[in-house]
């Protein structure tokens, strides 16, 4: 059907415009259209294939047992892993959000000089560093040198370093979208810089900053490589210690349990993949919805 539509549009264009379009051009255009359509369908098909594959395999394993039991060597539930993923994502967010938001404020308010440009450049470079390298540095510094062993704190700090540049850049973009006149109005009324930023600019940029934070949490939930050698793995619930105490997390279950030769382990791996994918996608969608709603409610500065 799509191809017929393309042919029609090509022939209509050729016949009504009053000049002739050569056959080779028409054929090339038709092929190009088919390729463009194929590209999009390919992307959509890959997305559906990933989600479908995970969902189909995970479906039989989605029982209440997942939430009530802890993992044993080859099966069981995922209670400890779900708890661990939450502890580390929330911990990383609590550490990274204040630092990231402050850096973002600095970048947008004072980032036009040389130092700001340098900082922005370095944070862009930091985004590109492979997460396994972050994990390895976390391993040699915190796990070995500081002697924390595989621990919650090492995992959280490694994730924090990974999230910082994302939060900083999304905050910067959110703040930069607020027009200069708003700042001038604040300073004109005699407010100091702190008051202008905290009372006027931050509330205005809040929806966009929140979206950035949701993206960051989604990112930290889905990471495996930086945690392999920092957080370790534990079959038990977290006992509240930050150092010398490994912790379980969902992404580890995916890549370890799929290598076990048991059907039960495979089902658990797919169940973990389903939970993590659903969690990430829901967070991203909530983030987008917050942005749209916030802009509708408060009005975007445009």
């Amino acid at each position: 059907m799509a191809i017929r539509a393309i042919e029609r549009s090509v022939s209509v264009r050729a016949s009504t415009k009053g000049f002739k379009v050569s056959l080779s051009r028409r054929v090339m255009t038709a092929f190009a259209w088919m390729f463009v359509l194929f590209s999009f369908l390919f992307v959509a098909a890959m997305f559906i294939s990933i989600i479908g594959d995970v969902l189909i395999h995970a479906w039989p394993a989605l029982t209440p047992k997942l939430l009530t039991d802890i993992t044993n060597g080859i099966g069981g539930g995922l209670k400890n892993a779900i708890e661990g993923t939450m502890v580390m994502s929330v911990g990383a967010l609590l550490l990274a959000a204040p630092i990231g938001i402050a850096s973002g404020i600095y970048l947008s308010e004072h980032g036009h000089g040389g130092a700001g440009k340098m900082l922005r450049f370095l944070s862009d470079v930091l985004v590109g560093i492979p997460s396994i390298v972050l994990g390895y540095v976390g391993y040699i510094t915190m796990v070995i040198y500081l002697g924390w062993q595989f621990s919650v704190a090492a995992g959280i700090i490694t994730l924090t370093v990974m999230l910082l540049p994302y939060i900083a850049r999304s905050t910067e973009l959110a703040m930069a979208n607020i027009p200069l006149a708003v700042r001038e109005a604040g300073y004109g009324l005699g407010a100091g810089e702190g008051r202008v930023v905290l009372r006027i600019l931050l509330p205005g940029a809040a929806p966009a900053i929140m979206t950035g934070l949701f993206y960051a949490v989604a990112l930290s939930m889905g990471e495996t490589a930086p945690l392999l050698y920092t957080a370790g793995w534990s079959n038990y619930m977290w006992n509240g210690h930050f150092t010398k105490e490994p912790i379980g997390y969902l992404t580890y279950v995916i890549w370890t349990f799929i290598n076990e030769p048991f059907a039960e382990s495979h089902m658990l791996a797919f169940a973990a993949a389903f939970l993590i994918t659903a969690g990430v996608l829901i967070l991203i969608l909530i983030g987008r919805w917050l942005l749209v709603r916030g802009q509708r409610r408060m009005g975007a500065y445009r």
């Binding site: 090509v10 255009t29 259209w33 463009v36 359509l37 194929f38 590209s39 999009f40 390919f42 992307v43 959509a44 294939s49 990933i50 594959d53 395999h57 204040p98 630092i99 402050a102 850096s103 970048l107 308010e109 900082l119 370095l122 944070s123 862009d124 470079v125 930091l126 985004v127 590109g128 560093i129 492979p130 997460s131 396994i132 390298v133 390895y136 540095v137 391993y139 040699i140 370093v161 900083a168 100091g192 810089e193 702190g194 930023v197 993206y215 889905g222 990471e223 495996t224 490589a225 392999l228 050698y229 992404t251 995916i254 890549w255 791996a269 993949a273 993590i276 994918t277 990430v280 996608l281």
Partner: protein, 318 residues
């Protein structure tokens, strides 16, 4: 003089970012110094990763303690990393451009929003889930059906013929990497296509070009810098990808691929998979050599990212 407390606080917190980058490089360099000293430069282009006899007594070579027979060379990792990422780029680039065009100009605005969700959400799927998908769906499919077919059909083309393998390997890794980086390229390109001046497009249309020809002859050349910049950025992502590659690459050791179906390993995947065995080395040299791989990978990605960001800055894209 009054000290601007708020601003000083901002500067202090903001300096965490560059400090952490510098700290990463410095810590890795210090930790891997014995390995760098022992391996020197032929580390990069010799093809011999061997932890030595782990049950022997450590011997002292060049002033550092190693296990007898230990050698560290990562040429197979360098080749695997670069070839898989390059192949992924070749596959991803046209599709990403096509999808970006489709979503920015190919469909009407009211459909473009919901349809772009496919691309945006694809970018958000965790890499380990990509790996699981590759492991559970692609590897059997490719190994049993597609690779034998390709090897038979294109048996006259070098690197496409030969043993189709088991499905774990270079082409599977490159395919998974391509699917991972398509949304990255596509999303930025989509925004840039929207930002292109409408006057340019109108000028092309008024000369009798159709929309696709306008895109191909006018918009795309205009966005060349953006395209290269985003491409290098995606390349950096592909070079450093760990989990997805680890699960579908076949984890080759000291083996150079002789066709595109052969098993490979990449630097990032190798670091993730080898630490457990490296910890068996009582002289700690194996762990330090892994840290040298991490340093090499870090420097490569930093260089790649700096190049991409400079290009994008010249094109004024954030």
């Amino acid at each position: 003089m009054k000290i601007p407390v708020f601003r000083v606080g901002l500067i202090a917190t903001a300096s965490f970012l560059p400090l952490s980058l510098i700290a990463l490089i410095v810590f890795l360099a210090i930790y891997s110094w014995p390995a760098i000293h022992f391996n020197q430069f032929h580390f990069l282009w010799t093809n011999d990763w061997n932890l030595g006899n782990l049950y022997g007594n450590p011997v002292t070579v060049h002033g550092v303690q190693i296990m007898p027979g230990a050698k560290y060379g990562i040429w197979f990792l360098v080749v695997g990393t670069i070839v898989s990422s390059a192949l992924a780029m070749v596959m991803a680039m046209p599709v990403a451009i096509g999808a970006a065009y489709f979503l920015s100009e190919g469909v009407r605005k009211s459909w473009a929003g919901p349809l772009s969700l496919f691309v945006d959400l694809l970018a958000a799927i965790p890499s380990v889930v990509y790996g699981l998908w590759g492991y559970a769906l692609l590897v059997p499919l490719f190994g049993q059906t597609i690779f034998p077919f390709l090897a038979n059909t294109f048996s006259f083309i070098p690197f496409l013929n030969g043993d189709p393998g088991s499905g774990y390997g270079l082409l599977t890794s490159a395919f998974v990497l391509a699917v991972m980086i398509i949304p990255l390229i596509s999303a930025t390109l989509r925004e840039s296509i929207r930002m292109t001046e409408p006057e340019l497009k109108e000028a092309g249309l008024s000369l009798g070009l159709n929309r696709l020809e306008v895109f191909w002859h006018i918009t795309l050349p205009k966005l060349k810098t953006v395209l290269i910049g985003v491409g290098i950025l995606a390349l950096g992502r592909a070079l450093g990808e760990t989990m997805a590659v680890l699960m579908v690459s076949g984890n080759a050791l000291n083996y150079l691929p002789n066709n595109i179906y052969a098993p490979i390993s990449t630097m990032a995947a190798f670091i993730a998979s080898q630490l457990d065995s490296a910890l068996q080395d009582p002289t700690n040299m194996a762990v330090e050599a892994l840290s040298e791989i991490a340093l090499v990978l870090l420097l490569i990605t930093v260089a790649v990212n700096i190049a991409a960001r400079l290009l994008l800055w010249m094109a004024r894209v954030r």
